[in-house]
């Protein structure tokens, strides 16, 4: 610790000395009586005020009476002509924030000071008066404030302008009348006056887009002296750019030249502000990014930590969207791993992990290993998350990354950190089949010495589901049974369940599992014994090797298809009304009330591994499947093939927010409309969607499920089902109308009126496209998969894609069109490259594996050509892929 640095121990004999030692509120309030003396001692009064301010600063509070008393006596001090004392009086009044009737007492004194010849009086009196005043008084002093804005003295002008900025929040109509004076102040020669004037002028005009645009246009051409004002102007300019959009015809962006020019400003503050503004431009191109990245790269090797931090933090954000643009900085970034400032080091590491290519992974991991030991948990979690995404990007590298995760799992760390690692391993196991065995073993080793019950039980649950499907399940039994011997009751119970799952799935292990389960019958915990008994009976505990019943498997592995909240309510009711009849689980309503829309809140977020206790890992797909299977009308449709991401059917912030999720089945499509009512005064009832499928000829409506009621701010779902030809990727456009009955709600009581009015609400159209029939499924080794698929149903063709904005844009368009999973990080196009290969894999409806190789080339006139090679298990599927591209 750097403690010795702060103590000078040689001449510090009276170390505890403080001028405020032993200060006490009551005594100081007594002392404040000197304010009332007829002969004021200015110096003494100043000291007392300092003491009062000290008390307030230390968090002491005055009662209402005390504050009023102090306030009144302080106002007496206006008699003194001592400048220093007056300054302290101003400070004191601001700290006391007097009430409206008290303000009147000082108003005249302050107004006198506002017109004083002393600049310092004028400036401070303005700030104090504007701080404590209310609207009525403001009209009286408005004239002086307008004068002050254009005062020759910059301090006075700034004081008036800054006060204007604060007053705009409470009295906008008055401040808006000062526009002319403020405009004049923008031209001031004093740097800070210009800054304050610009800030106020922009706030006055902010709702008038045209005026803001004009302001920016004129100022970007002129000279803005203050660096702070320049920063403001950059922010306003980016706002204007955001609202105007790119001029796509010429590819030029308005005001880009100005931002780029600011990169050569002499103040670092301005350079950085401009660089940052460029990196967040929507749809920024590589050409636009380059100069900004270059200056940030220079900052990386600055001697000032603040500059390094600012640069690396910005580059870290850029790396999320444009990883290739940041690769030039990798060498500078690597030297930052050893930076004294650990925040900088962590940001550098995570940036490197985002931009790194396959070949640099091993080297990077080595550097990180040394680094991990001396940073705090919160930084470690960030690093773990970055490593997880890196591993998903380069599945071939799973071995070294998985090793790294297992190593850090063994080291010291808190719960959150350990949970992040376990979550990551679980996700890797799920997404990279090759990593499963080693991942599970790492987890097994971890629970051998895990102090967190929560993590142990989650891992055991996961192990029960995944372990039996591995090549040698028996090796996990030892780890599981060790838990039964060594752990607390919760973990023991969960280990028993896991054992039972192994027994149910693997018939050859059954006799041995039974022996272990029987031992558990003597456990000293009820739950453990109960579980053991239950499983022994359901699995047929006579020790013979028999095949497990389907029902039993369903019982062991199936998740509870009833919402837990419903279950809880039903059970509570049952207990309150005791009856002879046993509780019937079928009586619990399956309808999902106010299903929280996880996927809407966190678009694109991976479902976290152990996020949903106690049912263990679930994904959005599972959630959908459960919702759909709870609706009897749809159960006959078979297995859900794919659910699309939600498509918004309303603009943001409209009365009703609706999005649709397309569920694809073999012969059916179900549209799930997620509706949210954003009007507190309304209750919607009998909500349903009328779908016009006249532009989707192959579809015919077979059923719908309206939503009974949709209260304010509680999302609800209504469904419409269509039939379509089997296995055919039928496409079409659907137009939608939301119908409902509106009832007025008294917001104070929350009660709805009895009578409602029928109403309807037009929603936007959406389409079912070919990509909806494709599930993203990655393969860890594309070459192997490609070879083993064989060339039997290979279809190759070439396409001209016409002029495109860039190669990267063309690549991502095709990927989105096909809706397939890019493999091995090939979706990222290096900047300035003329050609690119992209590997895709997916599962087409009918469970057909499809692999695609795309080769792109771009010429000088930005014409893009593409070669498309498809391999699949069926020639029709291969042809269909070509059809999709040809018609897209």
């Amino acid at each position: 610790m750097a403690q010795p640095l702060v103590k000078k121990d040689d001449d510090r004999d009276d170390e505890e000395y403080s001028p405020f030692l032993g200060i006490e509120k009551g005594a100081v309030l007594q002392e404040a009586r000197v304010f009332n003396d007829p002969q004021l001692d200015a110096r003494r009064c100043s000291q007392v005020i300092t003491k009062l301010l000290y008390l307030l600063n230390q968090g002491e509070t005055f009662t209402k009476i005390e504050a009023t008393e102090v306030f009144f006596s302080v106002t007496k001090l206006f008699q003194s002509r001592d400048i220093g004392l007056r300054r302290m009086v101003y400070l004191m009044i601001k700290e006391l924030s007097p009430s409206a009737d008290e303000v009147i007492i000082v108003t005249s004194s302050l107004m006198k000071d506002m017109n004083s010849r002393t600049d310092m009086y004028r400036a401070n009196a303005i700030r104090v008066l504007c701080r404590i005043t209310d609207g009525t008084l403001l009209t009286q002093i408005e004239r002086y404030l307008k004068q002050a804005i254009v005062d020759k003295n910059p301090v006075v002008a700034s004081a008036a302008l800054v006060s204007g900025i604060h007053l705009l929040q409470t009295n906008p109509e008055i401040v808006k009348r000062w526009s002319n004076e403020v405009q004049e102040a923008v031209q001031s020669r004093a740097a800070l006056v210009q800054f304050h004037a610009l800030a106020l002028l922009h706030q006055i005009r902010q709702n008038d887009r045209l005026a803001v645009s004009k302001l920016v246009t004129s100022l970007t051409k002129g000279t803005v002296r203050s660096p702070l004002a320049q920063c403001l102007l950059i922010r306003y300019t980016s706002q204007v750019i955001r609202e105007s959009g790119v001029n796509t015809q010429t590819g030029d962006r308005p005001f880009y030249d100005y931002l780029e020019g600011c990169l050569r400003h002499k103040a670092e503050m301005v350079i950085f502000e401009a660089a940052r503004a460029i990196t967040v431009l929507s749809g920024v191109t590589t050409r636009e990014l380059t100069p900004a990245i270059t200056v940030l790269q220079l900052f990386l090797s600055s001697s000032k930590p603040v500059l390094r931090f600012a640069a690396v933090r910005t580059l870290n954000k850029v790396a999320m969207t444009h990883p290739m643009a940041v690769t030039n900085c990798n060498i500078d970034m690597e030297s930052l791993i050893s930076d004294q400032n650990r925040s900088i080091a962590t940001l550098a590491i995570t940036t490197l992990l985002k931009t790194g290519n396959e070949s640099s992974v091993d080297r990077l991991m080595k550097q990180i290993t040394n680094f991990m030991s001396d940073i705090a948990d919160e930084f470690k979690i960030v690093v773990v998350d970055a490593i997880r995404s890196l591993c998903l990007k380069f599945p071939l590298k799973y071995r070294s990354l998985m090793n790294f995760l297992s190593n850090i799992l063994r080291e010291e760390g808190g719960f959150e950190y350990k949970k992040a690692i376990v979550d990551s391993i679980v996700i890797l196991i799920r997404d990279i089949p090759d990593a499963k065995e080693s991942g599970l073993l790492h987890l097994c080793e971890f629970i051998e010495d895990c102090e967190f019950t929560y993590l142990s039980t989650q891992i055991l649950h996961f192990l029960g589901n995944e372990g039996p499907k591995t090549s040698d399940p028996s090796k996990y039994i030892r780890y599981i049974y060790n838990r039964v011997i060594l752990e607390n009751a919760t973990v023991r119970a969960s280990a028993v369940s896991t054992l039972a799952k192994f027994g149910a799935m693997i018939d050859s292990l059954k006799p041995r599992i039974f022996i272990l389960l029987r031992r558990c019958l003597f456990d000293n915990d009820d739950e453990v014994r109960d579980r053991a008994t239950l499983y022994l009976n359901t699995l047929g505990g006579d020790g013979s090797v028999v095949e497990t019943d389907k029902d039993v498997k369903e019982f062991l592995f199936g998740s509870l298809d009833i919402p837990l909240t419903n279950m809880e309510t039903s059970l509570k009711n049952y207990i309150q009304n005791p009856s002879e009849e046993p509780f019937d689980i079928n009586s619990v309503p399956k309808e999902v009330k106010s299903q929280p829309l996880v996927e809407k809140k966190a678009p694109g977020k991976k479902p976290t591994g152990l996020g949903a206790p106690p049912t263990g890992p679930t994904s959005t797909a599972d959630t959908y499947e459960r919702i759909l299977s709870s609706i009897p009308e749809f159960t006959s449709f078979g297995k859900l093939f794919k659910s699309s991401a939600p498509v918004e059917l309303t603009e943001a912030e409209t009365e009703y927010a609706v999005n649709v999720v397309k569920h694809i089945f073999d012969r059916h499509v179900v549209f799930q409309y997620n509706c949210t009512n954003t009007i507190p005064e309304q209750l919607l009832e009998n909500v349903f969607v009328i779908v016009d499928a006249s532009e989707a000829e192959e579809f015919s409506e077979v059923g719908s499920k309206p939503l009974k009621s949709l209260p304010y701010d509680t999302p609800g779902q209504t469904f419409v089902a269509f039939e379509k030809p089997e296995g055919v990727p039928a496409v079409g456009k659907f137009s939608n109308m939301l119908r409902f009955t509106v009832k007025e709600v008294d917001t104070s009581t929350g009660e709805a009126e009895d009578d409602g009015v029928e109403d309807e609400y037009q929603l936007e159209d959406f389409e079912v496209v070919a990509a909806d029939y494709m599930v993203k499924v990655g393969v860890s080794n594309f070459r192997n998969a490609w070879e083993s698929m064989g060339p039997d149903f290979e279809r190759i063709d070439e396409y001209g894609l016409g002029p495109r904005e860039s190669l990267a844009e063309a690549v991502s368009t095709v990927i989105n069109l096909l809706g397939m999973q890019p493999c091995e990080g090939t979706e990222v196009v290096p900047s300035n490259s003329r050609s690119h290969s992209c590997l895709l894999s997916g599962l087409y409806i009918g469970n057909m594996k499809v692999l695609v190789r795309l080769s792109f080339g771009i010429d000088a006139s930005k014409e893009v050509a593409m070669k498309l090679a498809v391999r699949s298990e069926d020639e029709n599927v291969s042809d269909t892929i070509h059809d999709i591209v040809a018609s897209g």
Binding site: M1, A2, Q3, L5, V6, K7, K8, S18, P19, F20, A42, R43, I49, T50, L53, Y54, N57, Q58, G59, T61, D82, I83, G84, L85, R86, M88, L91, K94, M120, R131, V155, S158, V162, I165, H166, L168, Q169, P172, L192, H196, A199, H202, Q203, Q206, L228, C231, L232, Y236, E268, M269, F272, E273, K304, P305, V306, L307, F309, A310, N341, S343
Partner: protein, 187 residues
């Protein structure tokens, strides 16, 4: 809502803290409502202090805490902090810290330590008042800030008068004095 958003566009300072070597307050000023109660403020100060304690911030350092950016600098037993929002320009915050630090150095006539600071608490409070007003940056030049605070010190006091003249004289002729002083200290 719109006005609120626009305030976001403007560089905003959330607080300025001057703590001693044990993390206790010497002088603090909060401009945002992120910490509504005194206990919330104290908790924030404590976590800032513990988080930065291990560093040797003889020049400006920087850290992130609870979605805030904190720039800081330590001299002897005084710890200077300036806090801004998550997406604030780090260099603007550093400029404010610089101004505050220079002003205090000038006011304490180079004796930047806790006892001296407490004895001149009135001037330090005036400094804080001159740097930021309700979150808006008022002035960032340390010598001007110190000049404004010191001009107002007791006029009838002989010592203060000469000191005031000194400061005025100094910043009139050596506008970068504040910086030179700090560099001299570091050696």
């Amino acid at each position: 809502m719109a006005t609120f958003l626009s305030r976001e566009v403007c560089p905003t300072i959330k607080n300025i803290l001057l703590l001693d070597s044990e993390g206790k307050r010497v002088a603090v000023k909060y401009y945002s409502n992120d910490w509504p109660t005194n206990s919330a403020k104290l908790a924030f100060e404590k976590s800032v202090f513990t988080k930065t304690q291990k560093t040797n911030a003889r020049t400006e350092e920087i850290a992130m805490l609870e979605n805030n950016i904190i720039v800081y600098r330590f001299v002897q037993d005084l710890h200077f902090f300036v806090t801004g929002g998550d997406d604030e320009n780090e260099l603007i915050l550093a400029t404010v810290l610089h101004g505050f630090f220079d002003a205090v150095t000038l006011i304490l006539r180079n004796n930047v330590e806790q006892r001296e600071a407490l004895e001149n608490l009135d001037l330090i409070l005036l400094c804080l008042d001159e740097i930021v007003d309700g979150g808006m940056i008022l002035e960032t030049d340390g010598s001007i800030i110190a000049g404004k605070a010191a001009t107002n010190s007791n006029m009838d006091d002989g010592a203060s008068l000469s000191e005031q003249v000194n400061v005025k004289w100094l910043y009139a002729f050596f506008p970068f004095l504040g910086r030179t002083v700090c560099f001299g200290r570091r050696e």
